[in-house]
């Protein structure tokens, strides 16, 4: 008999509901029927593995992807990817994307009347090291207006995408900046009931990773689902 340890389910309130009325885009897209609980099988405890050949080593510095330097405030964004037991998640892919310093995405559907920056694409990738650490150099993204409601503005944020060890650990999230006055008014940030869980999306200013005369450091640790205890029965 082959028994497998699955991954833990989220603690109540720490993950967003699919439908959150103040976030207008969720109204016609959130499922209305209850989700069907799926026990984890081999299909969910495995997942894609990305090696060094999937990632350009230069892709972790978003300020060096063009001939010139992008406009804006250079920053270092770094942290660790851990599981819920505090164990590092090594050699896992981290993808990020963001707006430029003026709050404009390099995307044909971004209609915000702010300048594009020919020296900034806003896309980065890296693998965590053997201790789960990652590090990006980028510029601080600008805030920008959106059409969710009257006078709606998104706080500065960087999108993060992570795989972790399994299909069950896939996570896409957003990192925010400390002290940003727009955060409490952001319907996307506010989708999650648990205040502490929401606030963990706000990075911390970090002297240790700040580079003198170069770039301020922000620290953002990311936690992926942990493993359930191994079943007593051992695989044969």
């Amino acid at each position: 008999m082959w028994k497998l340890a699955g991954y833990r389910r989220p603690y109540p309130g720490t993950q967003p509901n699919h439908l959150h009325l103040p976030y207008v885009s969720s109204i016609k897209r959130a499922p209305t029927k209850p989700l069907v609980y799926l026990p984890h099988t081999l299909s969910e405890i495995t997942g894609p593995v990305f090696g060094q050949n999937s990632v350009d080593v230069k892709a972790c510095d978003l300020t060096r992807q063009h001939s010139g330097e992008p406009l804006g405030e250079r920053i270092v964004v770094s942290g660790r990817v851990l599981d819920e037991d505090g164990r590092p998640v090594p050699h896992t892919l981290v993808e990020i994307w963001q707006a430029n310093a003026a709050g404009r995405y390099l995307h044909k559907l971004d209609a915000h009347d702010a300048p594009l920056d020919p020296n900034f694409t806003g896309c980065g990738q890296t693998l965590t090291d053997s201790e789960g650490r990652y590090r990006f150099v980028t510029i601080r993204p600008g805030e920008y207006p959106w059409t969710n409601h009257h006078n709606a503005w998104r706080p500065s944020h960087i999108h993060f995408s992570l795989f972790g060890p399994a299909f069950a650990t896939r996570l896409v999230t957003q990192m925010f900046f400390p002290g940003d006055p727009l955060i409490p008014f952001d319907p996307i940030f506010n989708c999650t009931a648990d205040e502490k869980a929401r606030n963990r999306l706000i990075s911390l200013f970090d002297w240790e990773t700040t580079i003198p005369s170069q770039a301020l450091g922000y620290r953002f640790d990311i936690v992926l689902s942990g493993r359930e205890a191994t079943p007593m029965e051992s695989p044969k």
Binding site: T14, Y23, L38, S43, P48, S161
Partner: protein, 191 residues
């Protein structure tokens, strides 16, 4: 030490900037065995309108029923040309299309074999968390005993089973209906 998993947030409308470089709509490399299948469909919202800014990710075993992952310890063959991961962005009409091989059977609970299936994540603006679903195959006798299909009420089960395209031979059609009549079955898979 006990931490809580980081809160999920939407991919938003501009994820193609960050997620296009690993786009993979042809999963079949050189020398890969198994039956080729092209799966095509649309992502539709609660008004039946196409979702032009959705991302579909797929994960599956190879034709032998083996995942390219260290925790798959079955003594089945891996194939260098098949990793099992797909990433497809919908176009302006909400359509997506990818080519793969029909996966072999993999073990499920109590060591019963699962019917051939592809695990799917759906991401989009408006979805604060991914939606997890599965694609099953038509005319597949093992579907009737598949544990996951049997978790689903029988009237909704067909949303998980691809259909032979009436227009194109060799193509299977499978749609993602986010809400409303014919709403696709989505699974609670944790995050």
């Amino acid at each position: 030490m006990s931490l809580r998993a980081t809160t999920s947030q939407t991919v938003g409308p501009f994820f193609s900037i960050g997620l296009s470089s690993l786009k993979q709509d042809n999963l079949v490399g050189e020398g890969v065995s198994g039956e080729r299948v092209t799966i095509a469909g649309r992502v539709l919202d609660g008004d039946g309108k196409p979702v032009p800014d959705a991302l579909i990710e797929t994960w599956q075993a190879n034709a032998h029923g083996k995942y390219d992952h260290p925790e798959d310890t079955q003594s089945k063959k891996l194939e260098a040309g098949f990793k099992g991961f797909g990433r497809i962005l919908t176009d302006g009409n909400g359509t997506f299309r990818f080519t793969t091989v029909k996966p072999g059977q993999v073990p499920g609970p109590d060591n019963n074999m699962q019917a051939p299936h592809i695990a799917v994540s759906v991401f989009a603006r408006g979805l604060e968390r991914r939606l997890v679903t599965r694609i099953y195959f038509p005319d597949e006798p093992s579907n009737s005993s598949d544990f996951a299909l049997n978790l689903v009420e029988s009237t909704r089960r067909e949303t998980l089973i691809a259909k032979k395209s009436t227009g194109e031979s060799g193509v299977l059609e499978w749609n993602v209906i986010l809400q409303g009549p014919g709403e696709t079955v989505f699974f609670d898979c944790g995050l």
